[in-house]
């Protein structure tokens, strides 16, 4: 149970962090564009009341975040991508806050499901990259679970290098392609 405490600590710290600045290192390509189209017009954090979840939230459902936050550029939940180092599935410190926000949302809304889509850059062989992408998805899934999200809410799917966010063959593209995306149904 020790790891749990550590993670809660990190989590609290990260919420503060996230509150201070929502303009982290982000904004790469596809993700921003897709979410931006749907997210215009929503304001602020919706809080518990805004959490009218279509999936049927459990008792006390909602918590601090609501589904609207997924499409709200001001909300930590708007960030739905975690990036990784080459040949690594370790979640870097700068993304702990992103994962923590989603963990809080999911833990407070047990009816909400998420697919963690794992991806790899194009280097090396394709099926090995599928395994790498899955390792990344599982790392994020484990963090979510440590923060109270149930197994049943999470599905990990690895696409390996098959769905690049950036099509080039250089470091800057590869960096954007080594990622896990939080895919919420309908968002």
């Amino acid at each position: 149970m020790k790891p749990m405490k550590i993670f809660l600590g990190v989590f609290l710290a990260s919420v503060v962090l996230a509150g201070c600045s929502s303009t982290g290192k982000k904004g790469e390509g596809e993700e921003g564009a897709a979410a931006g189209a749907a997210g215009a017009g929503t304001s602020g954090y919706s809080g518990g009341a805004g959490g009218g979840l279509s999936g049927g939230a459990g008792a006390g459902g909602g918590g601090r975040y609501g589904v609207a936050d997924l499409d709200n550029p001001q909300s930590p939940l708007y960030k739905k991508v975690v990036y990784f180092q080459y040949d690594s599935s370790e979640v870097a410190p700068e993304y702990v806050a992103v994962v923590a926000a989603h963990a809080e949302f999911l833990a407070a809304n047990p009816g909400q499901h998420v697919t963690l889509e794992g991806h790899a850059d194009e280097r090396g062989s394709r099926e090995y990259n599928v395994a790498l992408g899955e390792g990344r998805g599982k790392s994020v899934a484990n963090m979510l679970k440590l923060q109270g999200v149930s197994d049943a809410q999470i599905q990990v799917v690895s696409y390996g290098e098959e769905k690049p966010a950036c099509m080039g063959h250089d470091d800057s593209c590869w960096q954007q392609n080594r990622r896990v995306e939080f895919a919420y149904p309908g968002h």
Partner: protein, 433 residues
């Protein structure tokens, strides 16, 4: 002779079924030789006689293109020929000696019940004698394949190695569809790129086509249900079967030589492991047994062992394990990245993706001497697949936003590039037959 005739009747029946596939033909692959052997042997393939009949295929042209593509022969332009013999009595060796040709092929295509009878003769021009002659019955729809078969026989006579011209390749394409969405396809074409047929189309990724040993089926990975699953599909009928859709990875199918089992990668128990899946009983046997990533299985030709990629040592390297289960042994030590190992048809060497430093290249490891030869330049080469005769390795490479298929001879001397209008072609799998 009898054997060849029988084989071709069977192939013809298949081709007839093939003609009824409810499938779309795709863009053809174009093949160019980017490097040939220094002294390609000059050979003349005289236009085949047709006795006035209009043939659907220029048999001599197909044979010439096959032999040229091997890089080992230079087929003569028919316009430069002094004579065009169709029967043995019309052959004058002096003509061909004068033209500097080492060998000559002549032949005739005669209409027969249900198709054609093709007769051909191969001559040694310098000695002035016949080396071999055959008569082959060919169903009408199968004349092109018969031409490839003749190229196979000529190649074997002159090099001592069986040809692999009458084979096919499966591969994956990715392109933007008319609706602006990406579309993935598994296609099968003749080894010369002719007549591509689409086996399956999906808006989600398709991966890892693998041939059954009899050449009748493909296994592949499809994400069509937004998660990975392994399917097998009979080419002649299009009949498709879902063989694995467990939670997590369902990937890297590789058919056992006996056709009864698939080696696959599954992560149902938490991490990627190589399993042998019995297609009848559905029983699973874990052959990698390690907490690291284990994937990309490939069977030794005798079916006794399986090579796979594992990062149990920290970096991806190739390991060999008994197909019946047991301890795995590491087989690659040179370089920091060795993956997707595939056995040569004779089982004596492994081709792989070899990475480190500047990029990823195709290399071949001789299992007895442990010597590793790097055959390609990279930087993003992947998915090696041997021709059935072991002479060439096909692989995929990337340049800009395009993906190409390439072939390289195992001695590195001959290189080909196959390009397609589709622009992004990958994961070639060369058919065993």
């Amino acid at each position: 002779m009898e054997k060849i005739v029988r084989t071709w009747i069977a192939a013809g029946a298949l081709a007839l079924i093939g003609a009824m596939w409810p499938l779309h033909a795709g863009a053809e692959l174009k093949i160019e030789i980017t490097q040939g052997v220094e002294r390609a042997s000059p050979i003349a393939i005289a236009p085949f006689g047709a006795q006035g009949a209009q043939l659907p295929v220029d048999v001599a042209d197909v044979i010439s293109a096959d032999l040229n593509r091997s890089g080992r022969f230079k087929a003569m332009d028919p316009d430069s020929m002094m004579s065009r013999p169709e029967t043995p009595d019309q052959v004058r060796f002096k003509d061909w000696q004068l033209l500097g040709q080492d060998h000559l092929v002549i032949g005739q295509v005669r209409p027969a019940a249900g198709g054609y009878t093709v007769e051909f003769h191969l001559y040694d021009v310098l000695r002035g004698g016949e080396m071999v002659s055959y008569t082959i019955d060919s169903p009408a729809a199968d004349l092109r394949r018969t031409a490839h078969r003749i190229a196979d026989i000529v190649y074997q006579q002159l090099t001592g190695m069986p040809g692999a011209f009458a084979t096919r390749i499966a591969y994956v394409t990715s392109a933007m569809g008319e609706n602006g969405k990406r579309q993935y396809k598994v296609q099968v074409a003749d080894a010369d790129g002719f007549g591509p047929q689409t086996i399956v189309t999906s808006p989600e990724p398709l991966m890892s086509p693998s041939w059954s040993a009899d050449g009748n089926k493909l296994a592949y990975v499809s994400f069509e249900n937004k998660t990975s699953a392994i399917y097998t599909q009979t080419l002649a009928t299009g009949q498709r079967q879902l063989v694995s859709s467990l939670p997590g990875i369902n990937g890297a199918p590789a058919w056992a030589p006996d056709g009864s089992r698939l080696a696959v990668t599954l992560s149902k128990d938490g991490n990627a492991e190589v399993y042998v899946l019995n297609l009848q009983s559905k029983a699973l046997l874990n052959v990698s047994n390690n907490r690291a990533i284990d994937t990309e299985p490939n069977w030794s030709p005798d079916g006794s062992s399986i090579v796979f990629t594992s990062d149990r040592g920290g970096k991806p390297q190739l390991y060999l394990a008994p197909a019946s289960g047991g301890a795995a042994q590491r087989v690659t030590y040179e370089g920091e990245y060795n993956a997707r190992g595939v056995f040569a048809p004779d089982g004596k060497s492994l081709a792989m993706v070899h990475g480190g430093g500047g990029g990823f290249r195709i290399a071949v490891l001789d299992l007895a001497s442990k010597s590793l030869r790097v055959l390609t330049k990279g930087p993003l080469d992947e998915s090696p697949s041997f021709a059935s005769n072991g002479s060439m390795i096909m692989y995929a490479s990337k340049v800009g936003s395009e993906g190409y298929l390439n072939a390289v001879s195992v001695d590195g001397s001959v290189q080909q590039r196959l390009s397609s209008e589709t622009r992004d072609v990958r994961e070639p799998a060369w058919s065993p037959l």
